[in-house]
C-alpha cells in the first residue's frame, strides 16, 4: 500500500495561504475592536495575540510554501540554506504567541481593576453630583429655616417686655432690645456696631454688683434670678431680676454674656405696699385693743375730775390742779379716739354727701390760716363727681389732715392744689392734694402712715394725723397714695370707690 503525498502538499500550500490571509484579517479586526474602545487593555491584548499569530502564520506559511515550491522546483539546496532560519523563526513565533497568550490573566486583572476604579469613580462622581444637587436644596432649606428661626428669635428679641442684652466680658454692650433701651434710657440711634453703646456695668447702681456678677458668670457660666438695682441714663432707679449665661465667642476670642433682665420695680413697690398695709393692720389691731381698754378708765377719770372741779371754788390751787388733770385727760381721750379711728373701730355715721362741699368746708376753715402764710389754694373740681355715701365728719378730718400737713410742709409762700377726678371706667373718685413743700425723704415714705411717726418737733404733732386718715379712708373702702420728691413737693391722693347708690345721686 502506497500513500500519495500530493494531498499533503495541497493541504500544506492551501492551508499556509489561508493561515496568512486569516491572520492578517484577524489583525485588521483586532484594530477595529481596539478602535471601539482604545482604553480597553483586553482589546489591546487581542491585538497583540493577533500580531503574534500573524507573525507565526506568515513565517510558517511562507516557509512551507517556499519549501514545497523550491523542492518541486528542484532547488533543494536553497531550501537547505533557508530551512534553519525558517525553523528558528517558527520556534520563536511559537514562544512569542505562548508568552503573549499567558499575559491574559494579568491583562484581565488590570482591566478588572480599571473597571472597578472607573466604576468607583463614576459612583463617586454621581454621588458627588447628587450630593451637590441635594446640598443646594439642603442649603436652601436650611437657609429658609434659619431665616424663619432668625425672624422668630428677632421678634422675641424685639417685642420682649423684658430687657435682652448681649454684652462682652469687658462689659461692652453689643446689642440690646427696645425694652432694654427703654428700661435703661438708651437712645435708639446708638448701636453696638460703632461701640457707641455705653458700658453695661455703668448702669449698675453699685459698681461692685457688676464686678461680682461678672465674676460669677465667668466662674459658673450662668447666673439666675439675681436681684440688682440699675440706674437708667435719666437717673431712674430700677429694681431688676437678672439672669445671664455665658458663651465662648471663638471669633472674638472672648466670652459673651446673654442677659435677660426683668423690671420688678412695680412688683417691689406693690410688695412694699402690702407690707405696709399688713404692718398698719397689725398696729391698728394693737392700738384698738389698747384704746378700747384705756377709753373707759379715762372716761371715769375725766368724769370724776369734772365732779371735783364743780365742787371746788375757782381760783384755788386745787382747782387749777384739777383743771390740768381734766385737760390732759381730754388730750388722752382725743388720742384714744384717733387710735380707734385709725383702727376703724370708731363709730361712723355714713350719709349721702357731696365730696366737693366737704372739701369746701375744710378749705373755708383753713383759708384764713393759709393766707396768713401766703399760701394760695387752687381748686380743680371735676363736675362729674357724684354724691357719695360717706361719714362727712371723718372725711372732713381726712382732708383737714392732708391740707394742714401740706401747709406745714410749705411753711410760708407756696401753693396747695386740690383736684378731684371721676373715673367712670374704674368707678372711682380721686382727690389729690398737691403742694410745693419740702417733700418727704424716700426713707420716710414707708413710715408716714405709722401711728406716732412724725417729723415735726415735740408738741407740734402727735404723729396720728396720717394714720387716722388712712384708717378713715380704708373704712370707706378706699385707699390713700402718696408721691413725693424732696424739694419739689408731695401729692396725697385719696381714692374712693363709687357705689351704685352713689351713682343714683350723680352730680353736685
Amino acid at each position: 500500500m502506497q500513500l500519495p503525498f500530493w494531498p499533503v502538499l495541497l493541504v500544506d500550500l492551501l492551508g499556509s495561504a489561508l493561515m496568512i490571509v486569516f491572520s492578517i484579517l484577524c489583525v485588521r479586526l483586532s484594530f477595529q475592536l481596539r478602535s471601539q474602545d482604545r482604553e480597553n487593555v483586553v482589546w489591546t491584548y487581542l491585538l497583540m495575540v493577533s500580531h503574534a499569530l500573524t507573525a507565526f502564520a506568515v513565517s510558517r506559511g511562507v516557509g512551507h510554501i517556499a519549501k514545497e515550491l523550491l523542492i518541486l522546483g528542484d532547488r533543494p539546496d536553497i531550501w537547505a540554506a533557508l530551512r534553519p532560519y525558517s525553523g528558528s523563526i517558527n520556534t520563536i513565533t511559537f514562544c512569542v504567541v505562548g508568552a503573549v497568550t499567558l499575559f491574559f490573566e494579568r491583562i484581565w486583572r488590570v482591566y478588572q481593576q480599571v473597571l472597578r476604579d472607573k466604576e468607583a469613580l463614576q459612583e463617586a462622581h454621581e454621588k458627588l453630583l447628587f450630593m451637590n444637587k441635594h446640598l443646594e436644596d439642603l442649603v436652601l432649606e436650611r437657609t429658609q429655616e434659619l431665616a424663619r428661626s432668625e425672624g422668630k428669635y428677632r421678634r422675641i428679641f424685639e417685642v420682649s417686655r423684658d430687657m435682652i442684652a448681649v454684652v462682652d466680658a469687658g462689659g461692652t454692650l453689643l446689642d440690646i432690645n427696645p425694652a432694654g433701651r427703654e428700661m435703661l434710657g438708651i437712645p435708639h440711634h446708638l448701636t453696638g456696631r460703632e461701640s457707641a453703646l455705653p458700658d453695661f456695668g455703668s448702669f449698675f447702681a453699685r459698681r461692685e454688683d457688676w464686678d461680682r456678677l461678672r465674676e460669677r458668670i465667668l466662674r459658673d457660666c450662668y447666673v439666675s434670678d439675681a436681684e440688682v438695682d440699675l440706674v437708667a441714663a435719666d437717673g431712674r432707679e430700677v429694681n431688676v431680676l437678672l439672669s445671664a449665661a455665658s458663651e465662648c465667642e471663638v471669633s472674638r476670642k472672648t466670652e459673651i454674656f446673654h442677659f435677660v433682665v426683668k423690671d420688678i420695680s412695680q412688683r417691689k413697690a406693690m410688695q412694699q405696699q402690702l407690707l405696709q398695709a399688713d404692718k398698719l393692720a397689725s398696729i391698728g389691731q394693737l392700738a384698738a385693743g389698747i384704746a378700747h381698754e384705756i377709753n373707759n378708765p379715762l372716761g371715769i377719770i375725766l368724769g370724776y375730775t369734772q365732779l371735783l372741779i364743780r365742787e371746788e371754788p375757782e381760783g384755788t390751787e386745787r382747782y387749777e390742779d384739777l383743771k390740768t388733770i381734766e385737760r390732759h385727760s381730754r388730750t388722752c381721750k382725743t388720742i384714744v379716739e384717733d387710735l380707734l379711728s385709725f383702727s376703724r373701730r370708731a363709730h361712723t355715721k355714713k350719709e349721702t354727701a357731696s365730696l366737693h362741699e366737704t372739701i369746701e368746708e375744710v378749705l373755708s376753715v383753713v383759708r384764713h390760716n393759709l393766707e396768713l402764710d401766703q399760701i394760695q389754694v387752687e381748686k380743680d373740681f371735676d363736675p362729674a363727681v357724684p354724691l357719695l355715701v360717706l361719714d362727712k365728719d371723718k372725711m372732713r378730718q381726712v382732708f383737714m389732715n392732708l391740707i394742714m400737713n401740706a401747709k406745714q410742709a410749705i411753711g410760708k409762700d407756696g401753693w396747695i392744689r386740690v383736684e378731684t377726678r371721676f373715673d367712670p371706667g374704674r368707678r372711682q373718685i380721686r382727690v389729690a392734694v398737691r403742694d410745693n413743700g419740702c417733700g418727704i425723704k424716700p426713707g420716710d415714705l414707708p413710715r408716714i402712715f405709722d401711728p406716732f411717726f412724725t417729723t415735726k418737733g415735740t408738741g407740734e404733732g402727735t404723729g396720728l394725723g396720717l394714720s387716722v386718715s388712712y384708717g378713715i379712708v380704708k373704712n370707706h373702702a378706699g385707699d390713700i397714695l402718696v408721691e413725693s420728691q424732696v424739694g419739689e413737693g408731695s401729692t396725697f391722693t385719696v381714692v374712693l370707690p363709687v357705689e351704685n347708690e352713689d351713682e343714683e345721686n350723680a352730680g353736685t
Binding site: M1, Q2, V8, V11, S16, L29, Q36, F94, A99
Partner: protein, 165 residues
C-alpha cells in the same frame, strides 16, 4: 545645529554589523558549549509544548471567568482548543519524522511522491500521513479566532465586572 555622529553611535552601529555577520555567516563559533543538531528539534518541540500549555491556560481562564457564555469568547476558546490539537499533532509528526523504520519515500521532491509503510507500521504511517496535514487543525483555529473577533465587534461586547478580579 545638526549634531555629528557620537562615539556611542559608532559603537552601536559596529555592534549591529557584528550581530548581522554572526547570523548571516554561521560558521564555527567559539562558544562555551557546542549546540549539535538535535537541539534545534528539541527547542522547536519545547516551543510547541509552550504554545500548547499557554493555549490550555487560556482555555482554563476563559472558562474560569465564565467568558465562554458569550459566543465571541466561545469561538476564542475553540481557536485555542484547535491550536492545542495542532500542537499535539505537529509534535507527534516532528517526533515521527526522525524515525526511519516506519516507511519508505518514493519520488521525493516530485508530485508523484508516495509513502510505503514497512510491514507492521501501517497504522503509524497512516497517522504520520494524516498528521502531516496539520493545516486541517491550524486553519480552523485561526478561522475561529477570526470569527471570535468578528463576533466581539458585532455584538459590541461589554465586559462584566467580576468580584474576584
Amino acid at each position: 545645529m545638526k549634531k555629528g555622529p557620537t562615539i556611542f553611535g559608532r559603537r552601536k552601529r559596529f555592534a549591529l554589523f557584528l550581530g548581522l555577520l554572526l547570523v548571516v555567516v554561521p560558521r564555527a563559533v567559539w562558544a562555551t558549549q557546542v549546540h549539535a543538531e538535535p537541539e534545534g528539534l528539541y527547542a522547536h518541540q519545547l516551543a510547541h509544548a509552550f504554545f500548547l500549555v499557554s493555549m490550555g491556560i487560556l482555555v482554563y481562564w476563559l472558562r474560569e471567568r465564565h467568558l465562554t457564555q458569550h459566543r465571541g469568547w466561545r469561538y476564542l476558546q475553540y481557536a485555542a482548543i484547535f491550536f492545542i490539537l495542532w500542537n499535539l499533532d505537529t509534535m507527534f509528526v516532528h517526533h515521527l519524522e526522525g524515525r526511519e523504520d516506519l516507511f519508505l519515500t518514493f519520488s521525493k521532491g516530485t508530485l508523484q511522491a508516495a509513502l510505503q509503510p514497512f510491514p507492521g507500521r501501517e497504522w503509524l504511517t497512516w497517522a504520520f500521513y494524516l498528521g502531516k496535514m496539520d493545516h486541517l487543525l491550524c486553519v480552523p483555529a485561526i478561522l475561529f479566532l477570526y470569527l471570535s473577533l468578528r463576533e466581539l465587534i458585532r455584538t459590541g461586547y461589554r465586559f462584566p465586572r467580576s468580584e474576584n478580579g
